[in-house]
Amino acid sequence: MARNSHSRIIGQFPGFGKFTFLFFVYLYLPIIVVMVLSFNASPAATVWGGFSLEWYGKALANADLRTAAWNSIQIAVSAALLSTVLATFAANTLHRLTGRKDATLAQGVIMLPLVLPEIVMAVALLSFFSSLGVSLGKGNLIIAHTLLCLPFAFLPIRARLQGMDASLTEAAADLYARPFSRFRHVTLPMLMPGIVSGFMLAFVVSMDNFTVSLLVSQAGSTTLPVFIFGMLRVGVTPDVNAASTLIILASTALVVVSFLLAGRNPK
């Protein structure tokens, strides 16, 4: 232990610890301010009027806000499911074909939604759906979100495959398991934590998406962030703080669970 702590000192830069602390203050200050103000009885940001749940009551009583939240959940579950299924098959195949030219190309295509500016994808999807002339309502948003979620669902599954012991699938092959049953009984169970983690990240990405949703959503398919943006345009009211706090808590819980699942070592 003493040796360990000594070797840790080498390569340590003075002041970086304090700097990192300040960094975390910067990172969390705005979130904490929103949370604290959501419990403030006074609508003013600078006056503490006592603890109150009034704004939560107001936010939850807002029927349009509830509809938007429900839309968001429906879209996020659908998009996360779709993208995870697509990503699972793609990751499995691409892992097998690692290094081949067409596999590299396919992986590049799948990662595209991650590298393109979101506003460009937003107007591209808007142009696309409007040129088709038909609207699928929430379906448009499900397609758009599936696209955006795909890389986020893909990456944890791909990472899990890379950490997996190839000898197990080889053993199954030696025992004359056909490719599909190899996938079903060996690969899939081992991949599960990666798939669940990918699904959760995709869900959070969809729930949080703003720019694409703003342009693609229509009257009946407003999502939660788009609705909150509308509230902010009218004026910053404390019930936005309450709704925001609930959303932050929900996505934090999901990310922590996903992180714990992904962190478990492959068996």
Binding site: A45, S131, V255
Partner: protein, 299 residues
Amino acid sequence: MSTPANQGKLAERAGMLPAALFVAAFLLVPLGLVVAYSFMPANSFGGVDPGFSTDAYRNVLYEQRLDGSFRLSAAYLLIVWRSIYVAGLTTLIVLAISLPVAIYIARQVPRRRTFLLLMVTIPFWANILIRTFAWILLLRDTGVINGFLTALGVISSPLPLLNTTGAVLVGLVYTFAPFMVLPIYGRMERLQQSQLEAAHDLYANRWQVFRHIVWPAALPGVVAGSLLTFIPCLGSLIAPELLGGGKQMMLGNLIYRQFSEARNWPFGAAIAVLLLVIVALIGLVQVYLARRKFAGKVA
């Protein structure tokens, strides 16, 4: 096509096709459509009229006067420049902040490392709109910072913090810092303790350790983080809209306005194509530099 070998080849690849085709149908085709729209006449109710027109691109550089003549105008070039400037400055600030943080986290014992990484990741997943909106609560005239400074007696009237380029920068740096911390951390984690010990044994001072060991090891992470920051910043919509008050126009809200209020889709499409070209150029430069570095190593 029906030979067993070919079937095997196709079956081998079948798994990646649905995902790749999905992206092709719902991203590559729509992007092609944007390019096509940028060369069509505008319909004043939104959308485009059939036909061919280069008006959209001419509008980027020229302004049509009331008498129909065209005059060179720098208004939109200024927005392009402001976007590049703000995105570049954001990237530099984010780098300066993230480097010490990533180095510090990588030097911790594993348990503490995992915890700190999770702490970096959580705000990154919290809704970007809400995180940006939170800065309004801090920066506005009746906000937390002005209220705090007034209570301390430092200022008598509120500082104009919101609706400035500074506010946009604060919001963007805040949004993108985790994008830089994580890739740099990834490289620093791989840095061998023995290398640092060797440097120490050779009496290298901290600056030399940083210059000759830490920085070269971090560089690929720095490049990745800079791309992950610079490119989304260029087209960012939320920060300039909410914190810049929509007055400090950037490419993101310029494109958004054309497709919403202004109803000039071809012009919006042309700006989107311009943004795509800038991103593609950055990608090409990066590939070129990576190849050259690789070739240098082989030779």
